[in-house]
Amino acid sequence: MRTKIIKLSLFLALAFIIDSTITYLTPYKIRGSYEFVSSIGILSFLYVVNALKLRYQYWYALAVGFYYSIIYANSQFIYVWLFMIDVFLIHSYIKTRKISFNESLVNSVGLIVIHQTIPFIAYSLANMTNLSVTQFIFLRFLPTLIGNMIFGVIIYFVVDQLEIFEVEQTFY
């Protein structure tokens, strides 16, 4: 199991690096224009956590949340909670350990909604963002959701080909 966790973690780290590199290479975001936040890492987390044994999942989300918060989110620890909520969402919707295409779509939408809206609400309350609700929805949330749905489909088919995502036991 330890080898499997290491392999899955490397896969997830690679996904986060791809996100970070996409952001780094596409710096042409203008304030007041459309903004896309690549979320391959967050979408991959769905499959990674599903491939783990149930008792590890929340602990794994905790570790990933801290890693993501410190490295990619300027130590905003709200993301730790979000990864925990992701696990809860995955549990509440996915009823079999083999994720179907429809389940992956619904969960991907859920993950993007959680990772975009909750930080926006928190940052708005803490007066840490200049975006209005309308600007957020039309300029950031919708482009991010639509763009990541395309990534979500690609990830589904990539994960389907990889051995490390095969589930060893049934828990549901």
């Binding site: 710096p27 794994y60 490295i71 909670w81």
Partner: protein, 285 residues
């Protein structure tokens, strides 16, 4: 070993551990939302991973993309070179004029016993290490820190003008609060000269999202400010802060707060805030 903890059979111990984690996490989350800065451990961890990512992944990829764009750029070099040769004819007289003015300036400085003028500064070039997803318009991290002599409040520029101010430093990196964030540690003093020759002073107080322009509180009593007037830092912020003469942007429109007691000028930022790969930190001479 971390994952072995979860398999503990002792429920009381497990409850205590989970409770402690939830409380710590809540404190950390609330702290980060109320402006808490990174701890030493977080900085080390972040800098290490970000540097590895930068030098192992991002830098090689950007080298390849840069090489491709350089090949494309070479195609236009011939035409540019021809234009430059035309301009070169007038360069000799400009150079001579500059030499004369520099000598006069040095003479005047000697006579007045002035070591450095507020407008004298030097720049050090750095690269961007990270630009956070969620604070794209607010802050960036650069690959220079205390070891490079960088300190809080130093001005950061790119090739077109000012982009922001350093807000915190670690030994090898610095956080730069961008002008577009509107959240500055201190108001930034600026100056500009209107058409009738009056030099006006002001303070950058924030950023207007709607008009995509800086909000400059105008301190000098002036009735009209024409558009496209160049706005520079005034160097009046004190030692270690913005020196005089850093180009900030151009004026857009003068507004008042309705009661004529306070006026503010909207200033379009000169720097391209979307292209911040190579930036420089300004250090007063």
């Amino acid at each position: 070993m971390f994952f072995e903890v979860v398999s503990l059979k002792n429920n009381t111990f497990k409850t205590v551990v989970i409770g402690a984690i939830i409380i710590s996490l809540t404190v950390l989350t609330l702290g980060s939302l109320s402006g808490r800065t990174r701890s030493y451990f977080e900085s080390i961890f972040h800098d290490t991973v970000a540097s590895i990512e930068y030098y192992v992944v991002k830098k090689p990829i950007s080298m390849v993309t840069d090489a491709i764009s350089e090949v494309n750029a070479i195609r236009s070099v011939y035409n540019e070179n021809r234009l430059l040769q035309e301009k070169l004819n007038s360069y000799a007289s400009v150079e001579a004029n500059t030499d004369v003015l520099s000598n006069e300036l040095n003479e005047l400085k000697k006579q007045l016993n002035i070591e450095n003028l507020p407008s004298e500064y030097q720049v050090k070039a750095f690269s961007l290490v990270t630009r956070s997803f969620d604070k794209w318009d607010d802050e960036v991290t650069i690959n220079g820190g205390e070891n490079n002599g960088l300190t809080k409040n130093m001005v950061v520029v790119n090739n077109k003008g000012m982009i922001g101010v350093i807000t915190s430093t670690t030994p090898i990196t610095s956080n730069v609060m961008l002008l577009t964030s509107g959240n500055y540690l201190n108001d930034i003093p600026v100056m500009f000269t209107v058409e009738d020759g009056t030099t006006c002073f002001g303070l950058i107080e924030g950023y207007d999202d709607e008009n995509e322009a800086l909000i400059v509180n105008v301190l000098t009593n002036v009735a009209v400010i024409q558009p496209d007037i160049k706005v520079y830092t005034s160097g009046l912020g004190g030692e270690g802060k913005a020196p005089k003469g850093i180009f900030v942007g151009t004026s857009v429109k003068l507004h008042d707060y309705g009661d004529n007691t306070k006026k503010y000028l909207l200033v379009k930022i000169a720097a391209d805030m979307n292209d911040l790969e190579y930036i420089s930190v300004v250090q007063q001479a």
